[in-house]
Symmetry: C2
Subunit: 526 residues, 2 copies
């Protein structure tokens, strides 16, 4: 049986507050620094490593974090989750996104079905459909192949699948497995749908409408937008659309779709990339085999998250160091900095994953907590960020912990040698240099050129960004966020904070406003 206690009631957390803090500049210097880099490294799945040498920790702090992990029962709570307990207490739901990629514990039966079987069956159904589309067995009314797939969805139905598509698009081209180009329509801004529709050949486009409830206003509105465009092109919309939705949604049994692929209430939007929400568009774009590899990478990483030894569990360790930075060191933000242009939208996905999961002020019982929870997450790819906001990270008055990601090899493999090094070598040299520059700084008598250092970072290093390493990366961050939610004793799986805005927006559209809301509505000509 697990106990759900607030973090500040745990003796191990109070001890951490008292422990001596590490002087990062000192410990990263010279041979001691070299030893740390060798020692403070954890293997991840798919040959990757999580290196935390440049984090503000030492053996004493790590022992404290291990005690916190034990006292907060992180391993037991994860076990309760994958064994099907009602972890999402607010909405009284199981939390089963891990089960889309494997079975970590006992069989879980809900709504009368074995859930692992359910997710696998949906994957198979998606795979069969995708193969028929690729083979030209499912075509448009004129019998022509579909060349483009367009996802219509918002939030978790957009950010994760879009980030993954962009991460693998060049890899797929290089490996001749880009079956269809993918596009995404998300915003209720009519210019979003209009611009995407203007950029595709609708006659050869297949649309994937993603809404669990079948009631998301943005998504239904954009569906109508698309249906209008299809009609205006003289096409039968129902021959150009599939849906990903729950079995109980109004979309599930509609004749408006070529096929319906099911999701359920046990997978939240931001955790749904490995469900049919990501599976449909990615299987259509890259082929189901590629999506399967992505799932396998995630499954391997999930297994590592079961380890009770924090030095062998990269997601748990990353989570605990993040808690230490947030609640002991008092840093309010974290930047995610992939040295990979293909990961350009991965930080935006992690921003949702993290901030929507742990941006909470009450614990899982609805009681206010007396400590900071989820940080602000932001990020852009390196080296671009170096020529942008890194100035503040190096010399600003706020310390921002950093999460680097780097790969030894590029995806496309085309490169150029300038000044005796390839672009890929320059990219990798820059991320190595940044870690040390942030940690160690450099004294200068001219204070304007002085670098204090002491700015903590970690790095995940892989051989190449491919479906498997990307799956492992996704799992790492999903599980990191989950473990942090366990430590903070919040429910990382609901999002009540998005409701009030929806209610007020409806009131504006119905012209049922007064006070400030009425005047703002007038200013915006509504």
């Amino acid at each position: 049986m697990v106990n759900w206690n607030n973090m500040d009631t745990l003796a191990s957390f109070q001890e951490l507050l008292k422990a001596e803090q590490v002087n990062l500049v000192q410990v990263m210097e010279g041979e001691n620094g070299a030893e740390r880099v060798k020692k403070y490294s954890v293997p991840m799945a798919e040959g990757m490593v999580y290196n935390y040498a440049a984090k503000q920790v030492d053996d004493t702090v790590l022992e404290g974090l291990a005690r916190l992990a034990e006292e907060a029962q992180l391993t037991e709570k994860f076990k309760a989750l994958y064994n099907g307990e009602v972890i999402n207490t607010g909405e009284k739901r199981l939390v089963l996104h891990h089960m889309t990629r494997g079975q970590l514990g006992e069989a879980v039966v809900a709504d009368g079905v074995n859930k692992r079987d359910f997710y696998v069956e949906v994957q198979q159904k998606v795979a069969e459909f995708a193969k028929k589309v690729h083979a030209g067995e499912i075509t448009n009314a004129a019998g022509e192949k579909f060349t483009t797939v367009v996802q219509i969805g918002i939030g978790g139905s957009d950010l994760g699948p879009r980030a993954i598509y962009l991460a693998l698009e060049n890899w797929a081209k290089k490996h001749n497995t880009l079956k269809m180009e993918a596009k995404f329509i998300s915003n209720v801004d009519p210019d979003d749908a209009a611009a995407v529709l203007g950029s595709v050949d609708v006659a050869h486009s297949l649309f994937v409408l993603v809404s669990k409830s079948g009631t998301t206003l943005e998504t239904l509105t954009n569906e109508s937008f698309v249906k209008d465009a299809l009609k205006n092109a003289g096409l039968d919309a129902s021959k150009h659309m599939v849906t990903v939705t729950s079995e109980t949604s109004p979309l599930a049994k509609s004749d408006d779709y070529l096929a319906a692929f099911f999701m359920d209430d046990y997978i939240g939007g931001r955790y749904s990339s490995s469900s049919a929400v990501g599976g449909a568009v990615l299987s259509l774009a890259f082929g189901p085999e590629v999506f399967q590899q992505f799932l396998e990478g995630a499954a391997e990483e999930d297994k590592l998250s079961m380890n009770a030894d924090i030095t062998q569990n990269p997601a748990m360790l990353d989570a605990l160091i993040g808690v230490y930075e947030r609640n002991v060191l008092g840093y309010p933000c974290t930047a995610v900095l992939p040295y990979s242009q293909a990961l350009s939208r991965f930080p935006a996905h992690l921003q949702q994953l993290d901030m929507e999961s742990n941006g909470k002020s009450v614990n899982r019982f609805g009681e206010p907590v007396n400590y900071q929870t989820g940080p602000v997450i932001f990020g852009e790819p390196g080296t671009n960020g170096q020529h942008s906001f890194y100035q503040l990270l190096h010399q600003g008055t706020s310390i921002v912990p950093l999460q680097f990601i780097g790969f030894k090899n590029s995806q496309i493999g085309t490169d150029v040698v300038i000044q005796d090094s390839t672009s890929q070598q320059k990219l990798c040299a820059n991320v190595a240099a940044q870690i040390v520059a942030f940690a160690c700084g450099k004294s200068d008598e001219n204070r304007n050129k002085n670098f204090e250092g002491g700015r903590p970072s970690s790095i995940i290093i892989g051989d190449q960004l491919d479906p498997r390493t990307l799956g492992a990366l996704l799992s790492h961050f999903e599980n990191k966020v989950m473990f942090q939610g366990f430590v903070w004793n919040v429910n990382s799986f609901d999002q009540e904070g998005v409701q009030l805005g929806k209610v007020l927006a409806k009131r504006v559209l119905a012209h049922e406003t007064d006070g400030a809301l009425k005047v703002f509505s007038d200013l915006l000509n509504i």
Copy 2:
């Protein structure tokens, strides 16, 4: 004569610290709230307004901010800047980006030339070149028209021009003034250049190489990448490339380019969108008339920034409220949330503009300051963000001040009516609703559904995002950042914090490393 004093030495700042803080929930309620929305509004250029009713200010705080503006001599410092004083003290340079769009004060002569004349002449040279390209008078070697323009640049040579291109692409299509599609290559990651080159028809592409010094490693590397691609396609690279650089750069007199358009040391990268750095690619993409409209919008907004009355100077007021939030209320971040998909990369540009300018720990004399300076800036378009990180903004433990941007009309004008409202109405209703939801909150006995409110925001409202309103928006934020730098007494125009990483990266590539840097280099296979 102006005095450059640290903010905490100013009596007006000390008074602000003591002033009673505004309870936003209370003041935004009922008719009082409605009155605030009407009253706390400043006209901007091009018919826009800056509304700060939902900021944590009242008449007392505003009077305090007015005294701070006066004591910090903000108007005088701006005047000194546009009259050509050496405001960028670290690099001993004038700061003249405003002069690309107008002359606010006295004629400024530097390097023996009138700088306004210099910038106008460059604009004319760019315009003539662009017109010849559009008219088919400058073509590829086969005499065929160029159809695509590709900017090669990083940081300020990438983020601003890219954000502006994306902001106006659909508008230009709608107004039949999209002359050439634009693409951008920035990252040293070889997959960036390879992917862009794979997506364009190089035989009909014109490349704009942007590097002030002519020594930016990423940009020179990507230039070689592009030259290889042109050579491999059997093309003469020098017939496909122009450069934007300083007159003293090695690129200026090279035969490798069809033309060289000059910039100078008085315009920093992040302030260079209205110089030839933005001018070349945007004039080629949209036609020089459109770029001229953009400059005119910025010029109109610049004039408003000269006003000593803060209630008539939106940039100065925005700046002062930001300082109040950072240094009195203690909020470490600011989110920029445009309700416009076309502004998808505008927050990334503002992130550089703000964080690189004011992410400093020393004042303009190189002395450490005892207060917080520039905040972390991040943002994504609404309504997308509502389905992502807004959870933390509404219910997280940190308060994040918000900067909304909204337009009454879409750019493309194609829309759909669902549930009795257009998408554009839904978009506007959502931003109005969010302001009030953040400010007022909503009590609920279930604490998980409770919204504390008291989360401050401002909004800029315009009729439509077009070249003029976009120019005004850019000017607003550039001048806001400048005024904040004046208050904090930092140099907003240098970026010494980017140097150390460059030095260490070179050392890695030369294999001249030891300690932690050597081990990290080994881990990354360099």
